[in-house]
């Protein structure tokens, strides 16, 4: 008898798309131009944002007749035009629901055009339950074309599996429906945090952010360190960050270096590196181990980025200040036991196309309040 899989429960709120995940992965692989083979509006907002990071995204603009008669010819045309116009060193071709349903073969166009630069083909659509599928597919194709090593591929795959689990446990995939929520008032939360610092309480200041979002999340940790310094409580704060620049795809390493450079300039000392920028699903475990060994008795913890990836074991007795960029992350974090949850709304777009730390609202609020302290 066939084994029946436990049927995955339905999730109704919209979630990140696998197509978009593939696009971001291609960017991390330093792809110059990506052709989206599908309808003109598909993934528009992210395609536009990615241009801020210097990657061009174009579309084959499949229309009704493209759906009916197929889009091979236009894909060939766009591929030729892309080579001519952008002179790219690396090209990506990404599928969409529309082109995949009608059975378009991305490879056929590549065979016909024969570009003399590598082409990463990703036959992805948006119908996968976990958007990490889009990342894996892009990486598989990068592996096949020799752009990444087998070892890096396996490393990434393991991380993605963890990322998917993190979302299932306490993230966007943890419930049938998650209500979006703006989180606690920044002004009030910042006030409470200052109070604790002033009282000389001991605190952990943890950055565990996903890739480029660290450009803004780091500003929060920086602000915490700055105000503590100002209140002569700098030595009560222990800083941890997932800013290892020796791991991950080229862009992630670059970004870790840039952020560390900025932090250093501002006199911010990282006591513990807990992983790389793509290790946010597992860096929390490293932090947890260190806390268990050294800081179990601390009074509070500020966790920015992906706070729900940090195990609760060693921090459950602390007053937790968590900063996320997902309005749908507020409820799960509260349920986990995070005391204060703050949302940096629309954070991601502001961290594209930058190479320095970007000011955060919560960081700014904290600094402003500390002025009168």
């Amino acid at each position: 008898m066939p084994l029946k899989k436990e049927k995955e429960p339905l999730i109704m709120h919209p979630r990140p798309s696998s197509i978009v995940a593939a696009l971001y992965t291609l960017r991390d692989l330093d792809t110059d131009v990506v052709i989206l083979h599908g309808p003109p509006g598909c993934s528009f907002k992210h395609a536009r944002l990615l241009e801020e990071d210097g990657m061009r995204v174009v579309t084959t603009s499949l229309d009704e007749s493209g759906f009916v008669f197929g889009g091979h010819d236009v894909l060939v045309e766009v591929l030729e035009k892309v080579i001519e116009r952008f002179n790219p060193r690396r090209i990506g071709i990404v599928g969409t629901c529309a082109s995949m349903i009608i059975g378009e073969e991305l490879h056929e166009a590549v065979t016909q055009v024969q570009p003399d630069v590598p082409v990463i083909e990703v036959e992805v659509h948006a119908g996968y339950r976990d958007n990490t599928k889009g990342v894996v597919m892009a990486l598989e194709s990068a592996l096949a074309s020799g752009i990444i090593s087998e070892a890096e591929f396996e490393r990434q795959k393991a991380l993605l599996k963890e990322a998917t689990m993190v979302e299932k446990r306490h993230g966007a995939a943890s419930k049938e429906y998650l209500e979006p929520n703006r989180g606690d008032l920044k002004y009030k939360v910042a006030g409470r945090l200052l109070e604790l610092i002033k009282q000389g309480k001991k605190g952990l200041n943890i950055l565990n952010a996903k890739k480029e979002t660290a450009f803004m999340f780091a500003d929060i940790n920086l602000a915490v360190a700055e105000v503590a310094q100002k209140l002569n409580a700098g030595s009560n704060i222990i800083n941890m960050a997932n800013l290892d620049d020796n791991v991950g795809l080229p862009k992630n390493r670059r970004n870790a270096l840039e952020i560390k450079g900025d932090l250093k300039e501002k006199g911010f000392k990282i006591h513990h590196i807990i992983g790389g920028l793509d290790e946010y699903p597992v860096a929390g475990n490293t932090a947890d181990r260190i806390i268990g060994e050294k800081y179990k008795d601390y009074d509070f913890a500020v966790i920015s980025g992906v706070p729900h990836a940090l195990p609760m074991d060693n921090i459950k007795n602390m007053e937790l200040f968590s900063i996320t960029n997902g309005p749908r992350q507020v409820v799960p974090l509260k349920e986990m036991g995070h005391t204060h949850v703050v949302v940096e709304i629309d954070l991601h777009p502001k961290t594209l196309g930058v190479s320095h730390i970007v000011e955060s609202e919560f960081g700014a609020t904290l600094r402003e309040l500390a002025k009168d302290a």
């Binding site: 066939p2 084994l3 029946k4 899989k5 995955e8 995949m100 349903i101 378009e104 073969e105």
Partner: protein, 263 residues
């Protein structure tokens, strides 16, 4: 590398019965055979399984089953491996997508299409969308055959299929005539074959045995092994298993096609 073939032809012309009889005949000769039913009505392997209907890949997928090889590959007559892709009821959903998804799953979890001597893809009569040519496009078919009678409409469909094959730069390895008792049928189909740059491999007469065996859930090879019609299928099977080079077909224009059927 196994011989991987697909038999194309007008809807209802006899592709599935030819495919299963050829499969059975090849199994008799000692070949390892796999038949993949690519038709949502999943009727390709039924006469190799004594009338039994096997679960289809798409049905299991829909039920959310963690599909293993033994759930979808079944041993039929003399060990012929039978797989049915299945798909939606007519008029619902997207059968073509089903074929694409099922083929890639099959490739991943089963060696049935590699570790064998002959794979037959039984496709529905009308290649209505990209999904139905997925086996060809994914490089899983290396020989194509066209099945037709000597009547104008089946030949018209056969000619259209040749257009499609030519566009995919796929070779045609032979034409099979499944007789419907039209006048001069063998001559017409033979002439058609020549003109498109191919050859007539077999003339299968119309024989009620095909239908009676089918109704009982058998191929004629199994249930009427000594019949004349069984001998015809055997000869065809041998001819398919023999080595032959295919050629990209050159389709005829409609005028010539009409003339041809007037002989």
């Amino acid at each position: 590398m196994p011989k991987q073939i697909a038999i194309y032809g007008k809807g209802g012309i006899g592709k599935s019965s030819t495919a299963s009889n050829v499969a059975a005949a090849c199994a008799d000769e000692g070949y390892r055979v796999t038949i993949i039913g690519c038709d949502p009505k999943s009727d390709s392997s039924i006469t190799l399984l004594r009338g039994r209907r096997i679960p289809t890949i798409m049905d299991l997928m829909r039920e959310g089953i963690d599909i293993r090889e033994e759930d979808i590959v079944f041993n039929g007559y003399k060990g012929v491996k039978c797989v049915e892709i299945g798909g939606p009821e007519p008029g619902i959903g997207c059968a073509g997508r089903g074929i694409i998804v099922a083929i890639s799953l099959l490739k991943k979890i089963s060696s049935a299409i590699e570790d064998t001597d002959l794979v037959i893809y039984d496709v529905p009569g009308d290649i209505v969308c990209g999904g139905f040519v997925a086996p060809v496009k994914k490089g899983l078919v290396n020989e194509a055959y066209v099945l037709t009678s000597g009547e104008y409409m089946p030949l018209y469909a056969a000619n259209n299929i040749c257009k499609g094959l030519a566009r995919l730069e796929m070779t045609l390895n032979g034409v099979i005539c499944n007789s419907r008792g039209a006048l001069n049928e063998e001559k017409i189909v033979s002439e058609f074959s020549k003109e498109i740059g191919s050859q007539l491999l077999a003339f299968i007469p119309k024989d009620v045995l095909v239908q009676t065996c089918e109704r009982d859930g058998f191929s004629v090879i199994e249930n009427a092994p000594d019949s004349d019609i069984a001998a015809v299928y055997r000869k065809l099977a041998r001819s398919i298993m023999g080595k032959r080079d295919g050629k990209i077909p050159v389709p005829l224009d409609d005028k010539r096609l009409r003339e041809l059927t007037r002989i």
